[in-house]
């Protein structure tokens, strides 16, 4: 079953790559694979809820240290998010790519499938080595996606993307992994962590810091540059990067390391997370300020992502139940919210070829669904009820309060205010400003309408999802309590 | 005893020839000196066999005599023509007497 979860997207990828002659078959192939994968992932829930952790060792390249897959609650949640959103991204991607008649569509969907396989691998990784392997696989598989356009800009962006991700992961992450291995003799993810009792607070702090910064995908400042740089990619890719696979893989990695390598109690005892926590706190504030200054829609969303990711890191570093739960929820909630926003940005681009916020005046009336969805997504990101984002923000605040970090609470609230400041005006422009005069004069305004159905449906679905997640908040909370068997 | 004296004498000869080879001054002096040093060594090698009581090693002296001959011709030819492979166009090959 685990093999199938990993192999399905790979198989799908291969099938897709063989269908380059007939786009329809190819796209159906992608879609079917996505749906099957989602169902497969859902199939794990009964056994995990029953307290089992299915495990599988794929190979053993290093004696006593294999490529191991294990299903546990945290990973399963991430897998659910990734595979679920893959379906929507695929539908959307088909619409977008065809709408823009992009070239190399087969390569695009092939890499897409590989990326999802890597994301699933990260989700189910049974030890740090496996996680690292899939982490790098994800980096390499997304690289062709980022440089999809193949022009000079795309190449420059791709180089930054690859450079930062590889350098941080090899330079810090791998190093910390090896160090951990040398200290403990194992890299398995275990409840309560493996480092506890092996290292002192100083080393623990160094290690955790290295892990956090080494996970370049989590975009902690100063290693966030790749995210805006990767904005050159087509929008479905941005959606994938920002909402589904890449960045979520990053923060998920940090979360998983905190929980299963260090152990929540261990971090709390030693205070190992201090540096990372404040770096994250700085990032989430600073990124929001930077976002305010950006006029390019995607760039603004990118910086918003940088900030939102740090919420997760902060939650992980708080090292208490509320913090961890908040962080995990943030992964799901932000994924849903941000993918909505990117879908909207893409839809706007497909429909009008506009990329700057200042050009969006009055479009809300022409594209009501898109802008409504954008509004809902924004609310979710900001963390206002009745959207899913409210839950995660709430738990994070609770966690901060539990940890007694009052300054942090202040920063979180400040950041939320900034979120409002940079997200809502976009909606405001769309609905409350008139169309620019020259556009109207050209009568081109009349030709502006909603994007293709393939684009609009997914964004409506995700917007609905944002609302739905608010309703399911309690269920997710109960599920996540599995992480804390004692309490 | 007699062999020993002979050996010493030959060694002195070698030494003297070598001194001329080092001092030069002209290249002819050196070639001649080295050639005669070689000849002395042939003698030395033959006497040595008797001195050591195993005279059956005369072969070596014989060999070196041959080699020394070849070597000297090679040097002279090199010296004269700057090449070892030249055949004298005026001399028909395999003719013994003119």
């Amino acid at each position: 079953m685990l093999i199938a979860a990993l192999g399905l997207p790979l198989l799908g990828g291969v099938l897709v790559s063989m269908q380059s002659q007939s786009p329809n078959t190819r796209d159906i192939c992608s879609l079917v694979t996505a749906v099957l994968l989602f169902l497969l992932v859902l199939g794990f829930y009964p056994s995990v809820l029953a307290g089992n952790n299915p495990t599988l060792v794929l190979a053993e390249p290093i004696a006593g240290l294999g490529l191991k897959l294990t299903v546990e609650p945290l990973g399963l949640l991430f897998a659910t998010v990734a595979s679920g959103l893959w379906i929507l991204t695929t539908i959307y991607g088909v619409g977008y790519m065809r709408g823009n008649s992009e070239s190399n569509q087969t390569r695009f969907f092939f890499c897409f499938a590989i990326s999802i396989a890597a994301a699933i691998g990260i989700a189910f990784a049974g030890n740090l080595l496996t996680l690292f392997v899939f982490y790098e696989m994800l980096t390499l598989a997304t690289y062709p996606l980022v440089t999809h356009k193949g022009n000079a800009d795309a190449r420059r962006g791709g180089r930054t993307y690859l450079g930062i991700l590889l350098v941080t992961s090899i330079g810090f992450f791998l190093f910390a992994t090896l160090w951990t291995y040398a200290i403990t003799g194992t890299l398995d993810f275990r409840e309560g962590g493996i480092l506890s009792g092996h290292v002192g607070p100083g080393t623990a702090m160094i290690l955790l810091t290295m892990f956090a910064f080494g996970t370049g995908k989590a975009a902690l400042m100063p290693f966030h540059r790749w995210l805006p740089a990767a904005m050159v990619a087509p929008t479905p890719v941005s959606a994938l990067l920002h909402a589904v696979a890449v960045v979520k893989a990053g923060v998920f990695t940090i979360l998983k390391i905190s929980v299963y390598i260090f152990g929540v109690d261990f971090i709390a005892e030693t205070g190992a997370g201090t540096i990372v926590m404040w770096a994250a706190a700085f990032t989430l504030t600073a990124a929001s300020f930077v976002a305010l200054t950006k006029d390019n829609l995607k760039a603004r969303l990118a910086y918003s992502t940088v900030g939102q990711l740090s919420y997760v890191i902060v939650g992980a570093m708080l090292a208490n139940a509320a913090g961890i739960i908040g962080a995990t929820m943030q992964i799901a909630m932000h994924a849903m919210g941000k993918i909505t926003l990117f879908f909207c940005a893409g839809a706007i681009y497909v429909a009008t070829h506009k990329t700057e916020i200042s050009q969006l005046d009055g479009l809300g009336h022409k594209m009501p669904f898109t802008f409504a969805a954008f509004f809902i997504g924004s609310l979710s990101i900001i963390g206002l009820p009745p959207m899913g984002g409210a839950w995660s923000k709430w738990f994070l605040l609770m966690g901060s309060a539990d940890a007694g970090q009052w300054v942090l609470i202040g920063l979180l609230l400040l950041s939320s205010l900034l979120n409002i400041a940079y997200l809502l005006p976009i909606v405001g422009r769309g609905f409350f400003r008139p169309l620019p005069a020259d556009d109207a004069a050209h009568a081109s305004a009349n030709t502006i309408q909603e994007a293709p159905l393939n684009c609009v449906v997914p964004l409506c679905v995700t917007a609905t999802g944002c609302v739905a997640l608010f309703a399911f908040g309690g269920a997710i909370y109960d599920y996540l309590l599995l992480l804390f068997p004692k309490t | 005893m007699m062999y020993a004296v002979t050996t010493v004498a030959i060694l002195i000869c070698i030494g003297m020839a070598m001194a001329r080879a080092f001092l030069g001054p002209s290249i002819y002096d050196r070639i001649l000196a080295i050639n005669s040093a070689g000849t002395c060594i042939v003698l030395f090698l033959s006497v040595l066999g008797f001195l050591m009581g195993r005279p059956d090693f005369l072969d070596i002296a014989l060999t070196y005599a041959l080699i020394n001959f070849t070597g000297t011709i090679a040097i002279l030819k090199f010296f004269k023509y700057g090449s070892l492979g030249v055949s004298d166009p005026a001399a028909p090959p395999k003719t013994k007497v003119e």
């Binding site: - | 070598m18 080092f22 060594i41 090698l45 040595l48 070596i60 041959l66 070892l84 030249v86 001399a91």
Partner: protein
Amino acid sequence: MINMVLLMLLLASVYAIIRLDRLLTAVLLTSLFSVLVASIFMVLDAVDVAFTEAAVGAGVSTIFFLAALAIVGRQCKPTPRRKIIAPLIVVSATGCVLLYASLDMPRFGEPLAPVHQHVAPRYLNDSAAEVGPPNIVTSVLASYRGYDTFGEVGVVFTAFIGVLMLLGAGTRRTSIEPPTPTGAPKESMRKKVVLKEVADLVIAPVLIFALYVQWHGDFGPGGGFQAGVIFASGIFLYALIYGIEPAQRLLPPRRLAYFPAIGLLLYAAVGIISMLRGGNFLNYSVLVNDPLHGQHYGILAIELGVGITVAAVMINIFFSFSERSL
């Protein structure tokens, strides 16, 4: 005593080689150096080695050097002062390590030294019964350590392949001007009558002598390698006096180029036959029913192989070099 005098002469000649900038003299002195070394080997009871060193160091190497100088010229720049220091430091350091080691070396000539206690006694005492030839060096070379000698033939063969790859055989280049010869231009051959007479007298005996050395190796100093070199120098002599073209008519390079391989294959064939007869590679004892006879035939055959390869390689290399300076 003799040994020490010879060593002092060696030191003198090396000093001269370092000091002299003229390459021709350096080559001549190197040849002298080799003969002196051969004499030392003789004094130190290594007759086979002395034989080889005299033939190779003084003969073949010198001729190769001269052949190369004929192409590259004899001028040599003196070493600039600044370039002396680094080598001096390296050399002194290495020398110090060696001197340091020398203090613990077994004394010269000491019969109780470890080298004479282990391994070697078996060769001295049992080789006559186990292998046969009175020349123990031949027994060790051809039988006990026959595999090394096989490797040695391999080295010679490799050098042959290398030189052939680089210089080719039977391909003449005329684009390069040979260095202008000193001395008078070509004189009439009248003055070479003596030379030719002597050469004609000598060449045939040289070749026969080579055969003698080849087959006599079991009993006295000599063997395939020395024989090959002597045979080759007989041919050198011919080529030197009559020129390379007649020599190549005598031994066409294309055909000559087969012989190194033939010698090596002959050597290997002996080994393979012994493998086919159930022994290990180069185990001559299984060649025929009587082990001692087997050893005898085996040694004769491989010595022949060595002789063929060495002679053919040396002649080939000589041709390759001298063609280039025509």
